[in-house]
């Protein structure tokens, strides 16, 4: 028991340190020790994510630490996923999110960052990359039964595509079941309201808050 507790502590630390390889090794060890993978996640790794999140909130941790923690978390979960399936268990997912940079636009760093933060916070994220058409985005959302679509654009000439996707979703009657958030350097609150998006955030941490709020998972 004490050994398991110690292992949980190490797991949390591996996330805090952003050491993905260490996190994966600890996840494997937990499988060998036949610890329930859900316990591994909630009592071990999630503790680390929560801690680094709190530190970030206090201004004592910085964005790269959050991202590295997120990457380590993702790696640990990926190691544990087959085990969960084997046991017929599923970790609690806050929601399924389809993310993309809209058609005609190749800028993706902000969107990728939002994806990392969302998955670290317990969302299941499907990132379609850049230059994604409305058809592709909506098709994926239907396929994975998404709760949320997040769209990014850096150019004023491509941000209009965000509106096209929203109009198409409305036409197909997929809203308000699927919520839509938009982001990118030129995106303002006014724009988000104008195109009837459900919200926008100026940074990745805010995007997680917004996603939780929209899906009632605060």
């Amino acid at each position: 028991m004490a050994e398991t507790e110690e292992l949980y502590k190490q797991m949390a630390q591996s996330i805090i340190d952003g050491e993905a390889e260490q996190a994966v090794a600890l996840a494997q060890k937990s499988i060998e020790l036949q610890i329930n993978p859900l316990d591994t996640i909630t009592k071990g790794f999630v503790t680390g994510v929560s801690y680094i999140g709190e530190q970030f909130g206090k201004g004592e941790a910085f964005l790269p630490e959050l991202v590295m923690a997120g990457e380590a978390m993702k790696a640990a979960i990926a190691t544990l996923e087959p085990e969960l399936i084997k046991l017929g268990q599923a970790r609690e997912v806050l929601g399924r999110v389809v993310l993309a940079t809209v058609e005609g636009d190749i800028h993706e760093i902000g969107k990728t960052l939002v994806g990392t933060m969302l998955s670290a916070s317990g969302f299941e994220v499907y990132d379609l990359g850049v230059d994604a058409s409305a058809e592709k985005i909506i098709g994926k959302a239907i396929e994975v039964n998404a709760d949320l679509i997040g769209m990014s654009a850096l150019l004023t000439t491509t941000m209009v595509r965000q509106r096209e996707v929203i109009e198409e979703l409305d036409k197909e009657g997929l809203r308000p079941r699927i919520k839509v958030i938009v982001g990118g350097a030129p995106i303002t609150k006014d724009w988000a309201e104008k195109i009837k998006a459900d919200g926008t955030s100026e940074d990745a941490v805010g995007a997680v808050k917004l996603a939780k709020q929209l899906l009632g998972k605060e």
Binding site: F56, G59, F62, L63, P64, I106, H107, I109, G110, L113, L155, T156, T157, T158, V160, A185, P186, T188, D190, W191, E202, D203, A204, V205
Partner: protein
């Protein structure tokens, strides 16, 4: 009648931000990156040019790896000096390494409305009005598209914007908002109308193009194709890197310079391989990302150092530089905006960056403010004055006058004083009034700058563009609209 343009030239101040050896190290690191890591060129045309010149091309990932000597040889074909022409030839700007010119910044999405004082979405009328105010200043030497004309169709927006600027000003226009083949081709036709034909446009390019890279180590396909079309017709073209420490570049400044440099010189070499001798410039607005949000805002000590360092790199390649300056994360014209505007512009100017981009913005080049624009112009004027340094000669030592006044007198009534008093800087927006006067009014630079912008808009009418040319431009724009 040409209006004077104020530019910094014959500087007396100097700064060594990088030694020759350090520049060489950055250059070698850059060539290593281009050869071993590669740069993404998502344009069929670009990939074909690279392949024809012996580069290793990964067609699936669109990544090009090129040997250093190919890059170096290509860069040697860049012309070191050429003019940016203006609709009014008296306002042509020689890019010769001995001038620093200020432009308006771009491309924002909101404007602080001059009448209501409220922030709102930018439109075509703002593009016209900003150009008109800029035309009236002596500090702004050329235009960028300051804000996006969001009330025009996306597929022709870049063309509506340049037409609006040409109709509102006689100064040179550099657009950062044209990044497709169809818009670049149409823009050339429009520029040729002003220059009097495509051949003349080559001699007097009234338009130049700035294309953004997609850091780290990438480019946008449309931008590459647009740049190739511009280069083919002798339109000066530059690639701008905004690689930012922490997010799109390494946390360390030297590494970030190398990443940005790789993007810029690889694309510049591409233009030279396709069209040897095409006029090109280096463009950069590198900064550090915010540690908490990851946001690029510009400003801060890293931005200031990049401002000086980048011109050393551009000088090493012997091509002009268009340098990001005046960038600020400030939300209104305040302490932060003044600080960031001053230091970035000073650092970029002291090394003689050819073009400074530019005045007028708040909140990371998103929100246009006329007050900020005119206060930025004053900062440029202050730095312009500082760059002249201190002249030491018989006349300026003024010994005869000093002897005339003697101990305990004053210099106010001296002829020497009358001769030289206007050498001293005369501010427009600095508050040097008695306290009591301020106390009754409680107004400041922002109020005065806003009032000046309003007055300029009401009164300043630049020499109009020939209505026939306007009409022809309108037809060209129509032809690209869906």
């Amino acid at each position: 009648m040409s209006k004077n343009i104020k530019s910094i030239s014959n500087p007396k101040l100097k700064l060594e931000v990088l030694t020759a050896e350090e520049v060489k190290k950055i250059h070698e690191a850059t060539l290593w990156i281009i050869e071993h890591v590669g740069v993404r060129f998502p344009s069929q045309r670009a990939l074909e040019i690279w392949e024809a010149n012996g580069a290793t091309v990964d067609h699936e990932k669109k990544i090009v790896r090129v040997k250093g000597d190919v890059i170096e040889e290509a860069l040697q074909k860049c012309p070191p000096a050429y003019p940016l022409a203006a609709r009014d030839p008296g306002q042509d700007l020689p890019l010769d390494g001995n001038h620093v010119y200020l432009g308006t910044d771009g491309c924002g999405v909101e404007v602080i409305d001059l009448q209501t004082g409220q922030k709102r979405t930018s439109c075509l009328r703002d593009v016209q009005e900003i150009a008109r105010v800029a035309d009236a200043t002596e500090e702004v030497a050329f235009h960028w598209v300051a804000v996006s004309a969001q009330d025009t169709p996306p597929e022709s927006r870049g063309l509506h914007e340049i037409k609006a600027i040409w109709e509102s000003s006689t100064k040179h226009l550099q657009t950062e908002s044209i990044y497709t083949v169809h818009e670049a081709s149409a823009a050339l036709e429009m520029a040729a109308l002003i220059a009097g034909g495509k051949d003349k446009l080559r001699q007097r390019p009234v338009l130049s193009l700035m294309e953004c890279s997609a850091p780290p180590l990438g480019h946008d396909g449309g931008s590459l194709d647009a740049a190739l079309i511009a280069a083919e017709h002798g339109i000066p073209t530059g690639f701008m890197t905004m690689a930012a420490c922490l997010t799109t570049g390494p946390a360390t400044m030297a590494g970030n310079l190398a990443v940005g440099n790789a993007e810029v010189i690889a694309a510049t070499a591409l233009l030279q391989l396709a069209y040897p001798g095409a006029p090109v410039f280096y463009a950069a607005a590198q900064a550090a990302s915010d540690l908490r949000t990851g946001a690029y805002t510009g400003g801060g000590p890293e931005d200031f150092l990049f401002g000086a360092a980048t011109n050393v790199l551009a000088d090493f390649y012997n091509i002009p530089l268009s340098m990001g300056a005046f960038a600020t994360g400030a939300k209104e014209p305040n302490w932060q905006a003044g600080l960031e505007g001053s230091l970035s512009t000073f650092m970029a100017s002291i090394v003689m960056s050819d073009m400074l981009l530019g005045c007028g913005f708040l909140h990371g080049s998103r929100i246009w403010s006329y007050a900020e624009m005119l206060m930025d112009c004053e900062i440029f004027s202050i730095i312009h004055k500082m760059m002249q340094g201190i002249v030491v000669d018989e006349e300026t030592l003024a010994l005869e006058t000093i002897a005339n006044v003697g101990p305990g007198g004053h210099f106010l009534a001296q002829k020497h004083t009358r001769r030289h008093m206007r050498d001293l800087f005369i501010p427009q927006f600095m508050d040097r009034r008695p306290y009591g006067e301020w106390e009754t009014k409680k107004d400041d630079a922002r109020d005065w700058a806003t009032a000046k912008a309003r007055k300029t808009l009401a009164e300043h009418c630049p020499e109009p563009l020939d209505p026939k040319i306007s009409a022809e431009m309108g037809k060209i724009i129509k032809s690209v609209e869906k």
